[in-house]
Structures are given as C-alpha cells and as structure tokens.
C-alpha cells in the first residue's frame, strides 16, 4: 500500500522498513493524517505473513518533533462544539476517543506479536519518543545533535501516548517522575544509561543494526507483558514506593504551587498506572490526558508558550517590505553587567562586538565578564575551549569611539542618566555610518525623548534587555514616536540572530514590561501597609504563580529605583498618579533608612554574609504590626497580584502600547514571569471571561480603591461579550509543531 507520509519497504529477510518522511514539511510531526496512516501500517505489517519484523525510522534529519499542537487546538474546538450540540458526556467521549488514538495505535504495535525496532536517526520528542518507547528495541544514532525527551509538561500537557506508563516500567519510579516532571531533553548517552534506549550506533549503521536485532531473534514482547514482570522501582505500596510518592507529592506542590494540573496528572498516572496491568494503565492515562486537554492551563500554555512564541520568534511583527538586514558588527556601549551580557549573547551568535566604555580598564572588565560567562558554560559541559577562543576573538574591548565607525547596530547600555546618554549619543552620531541603527537599552527613559538627542530619530529605537541577559529570553523593542520601519526590522533581525524572543511596543512610561511588573511590586507594598504579614505577601505572590515575591523582586531591581520612579511619576503626572501609602513606605525605606535592596544588602530583606536572606524584622516599625493571617483571604490576595497586572496590560492595549495580544502574553511570561499557567496577562483575562474579570476588578476597586477600576476598553468588551483574542485576533502565519 502507498502512504503519503511513510514508505514501507520489505527486504529479503522479511523485515519491513517504515520510513517517516512528510512531503510538505521540513520536520516530521504527528498530524491526524500521520496517525491514521501509522495505524494502517501497523495493521498491514501485522497481517502480512511475509513480514517478520519492523524497523521504523525517519527520512528527515531529525526523527520527529512530536505532535502538531495546532491539531490539539482543532480537537478542542470540535469538543466545545459537541458540548453545545450533543451534551457534555458525548463530547467527553469524543475527546477521549480522539486523544487516546495514538496510545491505542502504539499498544496495537507493541502487542502485534512482531518485533518493532525504533531506528532513531535524530531528535525525537514527545509523541515520537513515545513511539520509540512502544517499540521492542531502540537503536539511536550517535548524531551529537540528537535529543530524546518528553517536553509536553512545558506547554501544560503530559506524555499521553504511554509515556507515563512505559518510562516508569523502564527506569525506577523516582527517576521516571523526575524526567516526566522536568520534560528535559536527554542526550543519547544519558538515555542509554537510563536504559531508555538500548544501543547507540553510527548513523550509517543505524538501520542495519536495527534489522540485525530482529534477525538475531529479538522478540516482539515487552517485558511488562510477561508474567512476573517486576517494576524497576518496586510496587507503589512497598517500602521503596513510600520513599517516592509522599515526597513526590510534596515536591510537586513545592515546584508548582499546585498551579499546573498536567504535572499533577503525571503523578496521578504513574501512581494509578503502576498498580495496573498495561492495558488498563494506558486507559487510565488516556482518561487523564483527555482531562488535561480540556484544561484552560493547557490551552493557554500551548497558545502562548508554543504557538505565539514561535510566531514571534519567526518575525510575526517584522515590518513588511524591509529587506533582511545582515548584521555583522554591533557596538555595545557601556561594559557594565548589562552591557557585558549583551556583548556575550551577541558574540555567541557569531556577530562581531565592539565593547566600549569610558576607559580601557572599564571596557576590559566587561570583556572579563564575557569570559566568565563562557567559562561557566564550559564548566557545565555546554561549550568547549575552542568555542571560548572564537567567542573572545569576536569581542573587542575599547575606549575609542573610532572603533565603532563601521558597525551595523549600536546597543547603548550606559548609566540611566539623560546627561550621560546625551554625551554618548553625540559621540556615536559623530562616527557611525548614516545607515546604522541606534538601539538604547534604557528601561526608564522614554525612547522618544532620547531620540530627540539623536541626529536621525528614524534610526533610533529602544532595545530593552532583561537581566541577566544570558538567561532572560525576552527583548522588548520600543518604538519612539518617529522610529522608522528599518530600525524596527533591524532590531527584530538582531533579536532573532541572538535567539531571543522579541516583542514590539510603543513608547510609554516603563514601556510595557516594567510598567506592568511595577504594579505587582506596588501591590506588595500596599499589602504590607494594610497589615498583611511580610512573609504572607511574599509567599502569596509565589503561590499566585509569580517566580518571586514582590518584595524580593523590589530588592533585586532596587528599592531606591522604585522610589526614583515614583518621584518622577509624581513630578510628571501629579499626586493622582501615585499612592501616598506607597510613597510613605518608599520614602522611609530609602531616605530615612537607606534600605536600597540587595545592592547594599539592606532592603525588605536582610542579606547576611552567610546563609539565606531573611525578611527584615524592622519593616513593621514602618508599616505597623501585622494583623493575624486569618484576617485575609489568601485566594483574594492571589487574585489581587494577578488582576492588577492584567488590568495594567489591558490599559496598555487601550493606549496602544501593546498592539498585538500575543506580545502582551508572551512578554508578560518571558519578561517578568507572569504566572505561565495562565498563558499571560491577557489570556488570564480571556480565560476568566472579560465579564467576570470586570466584575472582579470592580469588587476589588470597592475594597482597595480606584487602582483596580476597569478601563473603558474592558467595560466595552464585557458589554459586547468579547475576548482579547477575538477582538484583537492576531494575523496567523504558518503552522507550528512540537
């Protein structure tokens, strides 16, 4: 039989070679088509008496990236329609049938009686790795780029095609849980050590070795289908099991604050499944998979963290009609922590960097930081000495502005002071090419006002990095009033080159990310002044889904900076723009007590030389004794933290600071860690329902004051029954795959 996505060739020994090679894709993914064909192939080779065994491989560089996540979106839409048309139980049955199809095909393959061998030639992720796990033997290529993994949990899903059952039947329960939880991609040698694969061989021996295993009598029976099979980690209810599950449950909560149902479903599937025979275990896994597919967390995370992020990475916001830029040389001005980080990521992308500071010593210090970053990577085995040599050769540290005369792009990361910036802009303008783009990494000064210092405002753009630059994946590109398309395009091309995710926002006080995260910090301050115990403010912030508490965050970005921003806001916009309680708190902290944050080891926390930081007990001298914790509703405190940020984002949309909802969401997660399970600030509103969100804002405004008052846009959307993704539907580009 002929297939669209596969070829099946039976050799003289009766071994069928199934090669997966999708005609219209650069990478194999599981689409509805592929699944149907694979199921037919299993039936065909099982029925064909000539076939003694099967080897499955891929015709691409990689084996497969896994499931086509847009297919899951389609399934979700059909499900919603069915609920309306046929009721909930029928819809659930449909979803269960659909979402368990892959698992059933794999089980059919595994129980076909004929040996199946996976010949994994390249990276196999998600459902593709699960296919390999269902095979009776796994041979992988020594291709150094090859990775194997089950990353589903990262987008709010879990391995639902047998992954949660086969992995803990191969590796001890604790290791299995860890692998499933982390969703990490394994190198072949680690997978071999864990026994997740059986052999590593050179690429050109791959199929041959796979076939040899069959010829040498490899059996088509999995160990777990043989009577007397023993779990590698022992039974759930055993001494070993008792050492694993109670702590695993606790660690799940510690790591997720119980905000990630997919991670909990992994635990549940392993717990339930290991007490059942394989067929039933897979059925239970499928039940949970269907359940998680319906979750708003999965829908939100797939959309923002997978589909939208990929679209933004591929240049969804690049202005049309601007030729691709060829960025070969970048000047980084200011060799401090931030500038050096920018120099590192730029050089790491193969771009030549001129790192400039006011004197040679300062510039050299920045280059030394670049060196320490690559040293750290070498230590972790992620880079080699040769990489380091090449990287450092690309970075020139200098105090001489003449050295930057031929750069394509300037990234300015000097001290946040108008005078300093003006000097630097003038010096740069005096030497650079007329077509070079000037990017400022300011986080507090409006781009439009800085552009006024420049010779050519069209070529002036904000390129806002996050610290530490090596780790933070977002770059916020800010358009000043007169910033031209070319500048935006070059900035986007640059961000793409350094493999980060860009968002493009309009100029505004704090742009988008700083402005929104500032409301999180402020809410923490407000709670403190209300009498919420400081530890509760911090813990509830994390429980809401934020990566750190608001007071910790304020200590990191500096309390005096928050005070400076508040003063500037008051000066520019007047009393109404600030909160007097927050003003009093910050003034006391900064002016009277010199508590600036981590930088002087005194902030909302104390930072002893030894041991972990501790909340500063003196805070209650400023804000008064805390009231009993029982006074507060934890759920409402959590809501306040998320609602205030979502509301500020909605204001950014109304004001045109955010023009693409995907950027609002992705920017909030990558920029300041906004509760990823919500899909971002705007998805948080959409999934709650704009009407409900507006009602919640009004309730909170009644208790907390006008900072929670919903804006006109939200009220209008609520009245019309709209959503952000409906009203501001982003223009769709090509399909994405995982």
């Amino acid at each position: 039989m002929a297939y669209k996505n596969f070829t099946v060739d039976v050799d003289g020994d009766g071994i069928a070679l199934v090669t997966w090679n999708m005609p219209d894709r650069s990478m194999n993914v599981f689409s509805a088509d592929v699944m149907t064909e694979l199921s037919k192939i299993v039936d065909e080779v099982t029925a064909d008496a000539k076939v003694k065994g099967v080897v499955v491989t891929s015709g691409k560089d990689t084996f497969s990236g896994g499931a086509d996540l847009t297919m899951l979106e389609t399934m979700g839409d059909t499900f919603k329609k069915l609920i309306k048309d046929k009721g909930e139980e029928e819809a659930n049955k449909f979803l269960f049938e659909q979402s368990s199809a892959m698992s059933r095909t794999y089980r059919k393959l595994e129980k076909s009686g004929k040996p199946w061998v996976a010949a994994v030639n390249g990276t196999a992720m998600g459902g593709a790795f699960e296919l390999a796990l269902a095979c009776h033997h796994r041979v992988v290529s020594d291709n150094p780029k090859l990775r194997l993994g089950l990353p589903e949990v990262k987008v709010g899903l879990f391995p639902g095609a047998g992954g949660t059952q086969r992995v803990p039947r191969i590796v001890p329960t604790q290791d299995a849980l860890q692998m499933l939880f982390r969703g990490e991609a394994l190198k072949a040698d680690k997978a071999l050590k864990m026994k997740l694969v059986d052999q590593i061989v050179p690429q050109d021996k791959l199929v041959e070795t796979a076939k040899a295993w069959i010829k040498n009598g490899g059996k088509g029976v999995q160990p777990w289908d043989v009577d007397g099979f023993k779990l590698p980690g022992g039974p759930v209810f055993s001494k070993g099991g008792m050492m694993v599950f109670p702590p695993a449950n606790a660690i799940y909560r510690r790591e997720t604050y119980d905000n990630y149902p997919a991670a909990k479903a992994i635990l549940q599937c392993v717990y339930d499944g290991l007490q059942l025979p394989m067929d039933l275990a897979l059925k239970v896994e499928s039940r949970w998979f269907a359940n998680i597919l319906k979750s708003k967390e999965a829908a939100a995370m797939i959309r923002s963290l997978f589909i939208s992020m990929q679209e933004l990475n591929k240049g969804a916001r690049r202005p049309e009609g601007v030729a691709p830029s060829n960025i070969k040389k970048v000047a980084v001005l200011g060799a401090g922590f931030m500038g050096a980080g920018v120099a590192y990521v730029t050089a790491d992308a193969g771009i030549e960097v001129i790192l400039v500071d006011r004197d040679q010593a300062a510039a050299d210090k920045g280059k030394a930081h670049v060196e320490s970053v690559i040293d750290g990577r070498i230590k972790k085995g992620r880079a080699t000495a040769a990489d380091k040599e090449k990287l450092l050769a690309r970075v020139k540290a200098t105090a001489n502005y003449d050295d930057i005369k031929d750069v394509d792009l300037v990234v300015e990361a000097v001290f946040e002071d108008r005078k300093v910036k003006a000097e630097v802009i003038a010096k740069v303008d005096a030497v650079i090419r007329p077509d070079a783009i000037f990017g400022s990494n300011t986080s507090t000064l409006p781009i439009t006002s800085l552009a006024e210092m420049s010779k050519d405002r069209k070529r002036f753009v904000g390129i806002h990095f996050f610290s530490p630059v090596e780790k933070m994946m977002l770059v916020e590109i800010i358009k000043g009033k007169e910033t031209g398309d070319k500048a935006v395009a070059v900035a986007l091309d640059y961000v793409r080159a350094i493999k980060k995710t860009p968002i493009v926002v309009e100029d505004s006080r704090g742009f988008y990310t700083s402005r929104v995260v500032g409301t999180y910090i402020r809410e923490g301050h407000m709670m403190l002044t209300e009498g919420v115990p400081a530890a509760m403010v911090e813990n509830v912030g994390r429980m809401a889904g934020m990566p750190v508490g608001p007071l910790s965050l304020n200590d990191e970005v500096a309390v005096d900076l928050a005070w400076k921003i508040l003063k500037a806001t008051k000066a520019d916009l007047g009393e109404v723009a600030i909160d007097p309680k927050q003003e009093a708190l910050l003034e006391e902290m900064v002016e009277k007590r010199q508590r600036f944050g981590r930088k002087n080891a005194k902030g909302f926390y104390d930072y002893p030389e030894k041991g972990p930081k501790k909340l500063w007990p003196g805070i209650h001298e400023i804000v008064g004794e805390p009231r009993p914790a029982e006074t507060y509703n934890v759920e409402e405190l959590k809501q306040r933290f998320l609602v205030i940020q979502a509301l500020e984002t909605a204001r950014c949309v109304e004001e045109g600071v955010i023009t693409d909802v995907r950027e609002g969401d992705v920017g909030s997660i990558l920029g300041f860690g906004f509760a990823p399970f919500t899909g971002g600030t705007l998805s948080y509103i959409d999934f709650m329902g704009v009407k409900n969100f507006v009602a919640l804002c009004e309730k909170l405004a009644g208790k907390q004051g006008p900072r929670f008052a919903p804006n006109a846009l939200l009220k209008e959307m609520a009245a019309k029954g709209e959503t952000f993704y409906g009203r501001f539907a982003p223009k769709k580009t090509e399909k994405a795959a995982a």
């Binding site: 449950n249 549940q268 530890a535 813990n539």
Partner: protein
C-alpha cells in the same frame, strides 16, 4: 438515653518499640489478649454478659490484620459468643473504641462491651498498612499532606513555641512519669505481660528517661528538617500557612512521643449489667465527640473537638478538673494549653507519651484509664481525655466519677 458506666480499665506496660524492646517477642494477639484476660480475671467477669469487644489498631496488617479484636477475645477465652471488631481512627483509635463501646450501651442495643486497643509497633511497623492519604496524589496534594513531625514543627512556628518551651515541657513530662511510677499511681491499671510459664516479661514502662534535663535534650538535633527540605514538606507547610517565612524545627526524639508496644482495655456497661456482674461503677461517660480539623497542621484537632464537646455537654473549660491530652509532640499540648489557658498542673499530671510512649491504637484507652485512676487518687470528679489524630481530626471524652 441509657447511661454508660466504666467498670474497669487495664493496660499493659509499654515496651520499647524496637527489636531490643522487652515486648518485641510478644505478638499483637498476645498483647491484646493479655488486656482482655485481665479484665475478665480481676473482675471475675461472666463473659456471657459481654456483647462486643471493640479494639483500636492503626496498622491492622500482618499479625494485626483480619480483625484482631475477635481473635483476641477468642484467645482470652471469652467464649465463642463474644464478637470483636477492630477500628482505626489513627492515634485516637483506643479512645474511639471506648466511645464506640459506650455508644453501644448508651443506645440501649448492648448491655456491656469492652473498648480498648493494641499496637505492637516493634513488630508490625508504623505505616505498614499503607493508605491513600500520603501516597495518592489526588488527596495528598489537596490535603497538604506532610509527616506529623513537620506539622508539629508548624504548630510550634505558628503559635510561637521555642525549642526551650518544648524541651521544658518534655523534661517535666519525664519527671511526672517517673514520680507517678515511684508513687505507684499506675498500680491499679498495670497488667504485667507474662510468658507461657507465668514468668513476667515486662511490668513497667521501659521507654522512660527520668534523668532527662534541658541540657541532655539540648544536645539532640531536630528530627524533621531534612524531611522538610529534601522531602519538600516545609514548602507544603508554608503554602498552607503562607504567613510563615520558615519552619522553626524544634521537635526531636526527646520531645516527641516514643514508639512502643502495648495494649489496653476498658469495661463499659449499663447499670443493670454492672449489677449482674457484681461490679461497682467507677465513672460515667458524660459525653464524647469527634471532629475533623484543618489537615495540614493536622494536630490541632483537640482544640476544635474540645470546643465542640464542651458546647454539646453544656460545660465550660473550668468544669474540667483534669485534662489528659496525648503527648504526640510537645507543641500539641502547648498549643492546647494556650488555646484554653489551661494551667500545667491540670494537664497530663502523670506524664505522658513523651516519657512513656504512644502505642498508636492503644494509647486512647490507656490514658483513659490513667486519668480515671488519677481522679480517684486525688478525689477529683471530672476529666476530659483527648488525642490529636492524623489527617486532622480530634476525639474527646468527658468522664465523671460516680
């Protein structure tokens, strides 16, 4: 409603719950039968009067499995007609068994019943019966499961008890237990455990360390930080009580209840059955109650159940002469005293499980007998017995001498 009277209460001594403990050679069945036999023999009881034997046991598996109460009644020669039932409400099982027996009598359905409990911890092992609560993610996560030691440290942190506070309490517990033994306060209830030849195997509580002082306790390292940190349970505690920045780990082996083996039994009956048996009632069961409390902090149930019980019995905390609260962990008792403002000389006056040990399923019935003896010894009238319970529960009983 029929009144339920207490006619007798016995207990075995408590053997160290390890392989070198004196009772390690004695099976669950033998321990339970020892207590039942004592009830029968010292009261010259016609067991035809006994309608049921209710026994608590927390890990009813292996030799303790399959309804050990029935096996023990048979083995103690109560006769074929005496049934038995084993119940489990974790640490309060023994008291609940007494309450269940009393309830049978109060309801008028039974005339006489025995409530008691048994736990051979050295033989069966704590946690041997498994169970969904700590293991099954759907309930463990939802109910903030953590080991009891972490909950005890959480109580100390939330309610402000320092390491010195809990150690001080524990030193006193040891001193009280030692003094009570010296003065023979337990004589009335203790039934020595003997071998087949009548040779005594153990006739005293062997877990006690009467010389314990602040200095010796001060040398002990806290037991639960590792569980808290490595096991992730400290984070669970903080998510349940987010006002807490860090758990203050104060509990260790010296201020927590000891692991021991033992059994106890209490004879309950209505007035008429007592008369038929020729027995004089020692006390009346005035009221009892059960409650579920917040499961994360888990061990504050005694406070909740006491409030419920006093309200039900239309009594006030001042009507109680003596309190007996199982010393699962020192912070549990300190929190209880703090909540009701109970002076130290009214609670656990003979020492408790920190000194003498906590044979899980038996303890409730044991301390029931202890406080009854003490009421009689001091001429006082009313006592309240209560225990904290796994998964957040509380059981309490008020007795009154007659």
């Amino acid at each position: 409603m029929t009144e339920a009277f207490v006619y007798d209460a016995v207990r075995t001594p408590r053997g160290r719950g390890k392989k070198d403990g004196s009772l390690h050679e004695v099976s669950t069945l033998s321990l339970a039968a020892t207590a039942l036999r004592a009830i029968k023999e010292r009261n010259n009881l016609d067991t035809h009067l006994v309608d049921d034997v209710v026994m608590g046991c927390v890990d009813p598996v292996g030799e303790a499995g399959s309804d050990v109460a029935r096996a023990a009644a048979l083995n103690a020669d109560y006769g074929n007609h005496v049934p038995g039932v084993q119940i489990n409400r974790f640490c309060a099982s023994g008291l609940d068994a007494v309450n269940f027996a009393a309830a049978q009598v109060m309801s008028g359905q039974h005339d006489m019943a025995i409530g008691g409990g048994v736990e051979a911890m050295s033989r069966v092992g704590m946690g041997a019966s498994g169970g969904a609560w700590p293991v099954d993610p759907q309930i463990a996560v939802k109910s903030y499961f953590m080991p009891q030691g972490v909950s005890a440290d959480l109580i100390a942190t939330k309610y402000g008890f320092s390491r010195d506070d809990v150690d001080q309490y524990s030193v006193e517990s040891q001193q009280r237990a030692a003094q009570s033994w010296k003065e023979g306060r337990f004589k009335k209830s203790i039934v020595p455990v003997k071998d087949v030849n009548g040779i005594t195997i153990l006739d005293h509580d062997e877990h006690m360390r009467p010389t314990t002082d602040m200095q010796s306790l001060g040398q002990l390292k806290p037991s639960f930080p590792q569980m808290g940190e490595m096991g992730g349970f400290a984070a669970v505690a903080i998510q349940a009580y987010p006002e807490i920045e860090a758990i203050n780990c104060v509990h260790h082996a010296g201020n927590s209840s000891g692991i021991v083996d033992g059994a106890a039994a209490v004879l309950i009956g209505n007035a008429e059955a007592g008369k038929k048996a020729g027995l004089k009632p020692r006390a009346r069961i005035r009221a009892f109650a059960n409650i579920g409390s917040e499961p994360a902090i888990m061990l504050t149930g005694p406070v909740d159940v006491t409030e419920k019980l006093l309200k039900k019995a239309k009594m006030s905390i001042n009507d109680i002469d003596l309190f007996e609260l199982n010393e699962a962990f020192a912070s549990v008792v300190l929190r209880y005293m703090q909540a009701f403002n109970i002076p130290r000389d009214k609670i656990n006056v003979c020492g408790g499980a920190i000194a003498m040990g906590h044979p899980l399923g038996a303890t409730g019935a044991m301390v029931f007998g202890t406080v009854l003896d003490e009421l009689e010894r001091t001429g006082k009238s009313t006592a309240l017995v209560t225990l904290c319970i796994g998964a957040g529960m509380g059981t309490a009983t008020i007795i009154e001498r007659v």
